[in-house]
């Protein structure tokens, strides 16, 4: 039953996507929601099997690798798949209102949205390098299409830049895959490392692959495409780009590094990756602080937050793995909430220039609250998922006596506080009395619609993650890399 559930996970959204294209527009909402909702029971079944100690595997159409396609789910894939489900479910709720299925934009949005969801699931389940390439391309192409969906020139330029860099990165990855296959005769993610010898060719292949993945993950200094792409995309798209899409390549990198049997386990390379992460944290935060537009600020915050993931490579311990995985979850949920709240404020105020936010709390309290709650998690303050992640990461860094990493983690959350509170303080500030004298009882109230609910629900979830971390961590513990004991 569990292997079938794996197929449902990918095919439910995929079939829904095709159905949405051919079915009349009024059926879109039902089809799309069904496609996404069906993945929940499927995930549940797989989770139950994995909790029972299984590693769920399936070879599609009975064809075994390397020619066939094999999917494989362990705790790590499942953790990421759950993140996908939660983020996609709430962001879809937002999209129902912001991309109504009867509108022109809605008709273009929903098929691509569902294909993106199917591709992300498929990516997390893929167990071979070429499969990962195919799913990665699907994710990139649908993501680019959705950035450009509104047709605004700035968004299209951002989409084009993302597309060019994304395709280049994919080709780096694909070239590396070819070289690795030539060296080892396998595409299996879990075997490549074991069979890979030393040598210039192997090193070149790995360097190409890592570079390609870092471009797609927007790790400083390869982040140039991200702020505009995430900042100019429509709200639900930004949310899912920052919460999921940039994480998928980091997922592949972590898989390669820790599951591939130590081929990449190189102290210097690990240190360099960690250093890039540290630079990302500091640079991204400072760039966020100096932004003048809300969505660009949130986008640069993503650049910074992705840096924490890179600290896993030098720390390389069970504690660090748990911390970083938890960080990916907490950041995914919180950042999705933040982008949705920012998009709602943008829609309500007509501009996301920060100065326009003055007094926003009186009119749009729900969205400001959602932004602030998500901000608590981004800053890593208790009680929130971000705090649990930061605590575990600090502990891991402390245990390995990485004082530099400790300093960066601490500094990162203080810098995050600067940009988060900058936004909230503006929203709480009183507008200049010159504009209009406010009379009590006449303030227009913000609409408490689905878009606000989606943002607030995700933000609350980011906080709840900090209190109910135990079950999540037990799932993560099932997916520890080989050689790491819980």
């Amino acid at each position: 039953m569990a292997p079938d559930a794996l197929a449902v996970l990918v095919f439910a959204p995929l079939v829904a996507a095709l159905a949405v294209i051919v079915a009349p527009p009024r059926a879109t909402t039902a089809l799309a929601l069904a496609g996404i909702a069906l993945t929940a029971p499927a995930l549940w079944v797989v989770t139950a099997a994995v909790l029972g100690g299984e590693v769920v595997e399936v070879a599609l159409a009975g064809a075994a690798p390397p020619l066939g396609i094999a999917w494989r789910a362990d705790g790590f894939s499942l953790t990421m798949a759950w993140l996908t489900f939660v983020v996609v479910a709430f962001v879809s709720l937002h999209a129902l209102a912001s991309f109504p299925s009867t509108s022109d934009a809605g008709r273009r949005f929903w098929p691509m949205w569902l294909i993106l969801v199917a591709s992300v699931y498929a990516l997390f389940l893929s167990a071979d390098l070429f499969n990962l390439y195919v799913t990665l391309e699907l994710v990139t192409l649908t993501a680019v299409a959705m950035i450009a969906i509104g047709g605004a020139p700035a968004a299209m330029r951002a989409a084009m830049r993302y597309l060019l860099l994304g395709l280049m990165a994919s080709l780096f990855y694909l070239l590396a895959t070819a070289l690795l296959y030539g060296q080892t005769g396998t595409l299996d993610l879990y075997q490549v490392g074991e069979r890979l010898g030393e040598g210039a060719l192997a090193t070149t292949a790995l360097a190409l692959m890592i570079t390609g993945l870092l471009v797609k993950s927007a790790i400083v200094p390869l982040h140039v495409w991200l702020p505009a792409a995430h900042g100019k995309a429509p709200g639900p798209v930004s949310a899912v780009l920052s919460a999921l899409v940039v994480k998928v390549t980091l997922y592949i990198l972590i898989r390669l590094w820790f599951w591939a049997g130590g081929a990449l386990d190189d102290g210097l390379a690990a240190f360099v990756l960690g250093l890039l992460g540290a630079v990302a944290i500091v640079y991204g935060s400072i760039a966020a602080i100096v932004q003048t537009r809300l969505k660009m600020l949130v986008a640069y915050s993503t650049v910074a937050q992705l840096g924490y993931v890179m600290l896993l490579f030098p720390l390389a311990s069970t504690a660090a793995f748990r911390a970083v995985t938890f960080h990916v979850l907490a950041h995914g949920v919180a950042k999705a909430a933040m982008f949705l709240a920012a998009a709602n404020l943008l829609a309500a105020l007509g501009s996301d220039r920060l100065q326009r936010l003055v007094g926003a709390d009186q009119r749009y309290p729900v969205n400001v609250l959602a932004f602030a709650l998500a901000g608590v998690s981004i800053m890593g303050l208790p009680p929130s998922g971000g705090f649990v992640a930061k605590w575990m990461l600090l502990e891991a860094a402390w245990q390995s006596q990485g004082w530099g990493w400790v300093a960066v983690i601490s500094a990162g959350s203080l810098l995050a506080a600067v940009y988060v509170f900058r936004v909230v303080a503006l929203a709480y500030a009183q507008p200049r009395p010159a504009s209009s004298v406010r009379r009590p009882g006449t303030t227009p109230r913000g609409r408490f619609g689905a878009t606000s609910v989606a943002a607030l629900a995700l933000a609350v979830l980011a906080i709840v993650l900090g209190i109910a971390s135990a079950p999540v961590l037990s799932l993560i513990d099932l997916g520890l890399p080989p050689g790491m004991a819980p």
Partner: protein, 103 residues
């Protein structure tokens, strides 16, 4: 020098030329072409790999090339469509014309 080394060197040169073109070119069409040049280099590498196994040509690598070509064609078509829209909306064929802080 064995044939495969020649192939690999040729592929590297072509790949390098593609990367160079992608970075240096200003016109988006040129950038797209550069990407296609890069993919050709990757396919050459794959075919080299396919031809060098002791048991004769490797079907897996050839399947990879086929799939790769399909994806490259799809991605190029998509990129061209986006380029056409971009030109229609802005009249620009380059990304460097303006900063990204437009509305």
């Amino acid at each position: 020098m064995s044939t495969e080394v020649v192939y690999v060197l040729a592929a590297s040169a072509v790949f390098g030329a593609g990367v160079y073109g992608l970075i240096v070119a200003n016109h988006l069409m040129r950038k797209l072409l550069a990407l296609n040049v890069m993919s050709s280099a990757v396919f050459v590498t794959m075919l080299t790999v396919a031809g060098t196994t002791p048991e004769g040509p490797d079907p897996v690598a050839q399947a990879l090339v086929l799939t790769g070509i399909v994806i490259a064609v799809a991605a190029t078509a998509f990129a061209l469509a986006l380029l056409v829209r971009l030109v229609q909306e802005t009249g620009l064929v380059s990304l460097r014309a303006k900063d990204d802080d437009g509305a």
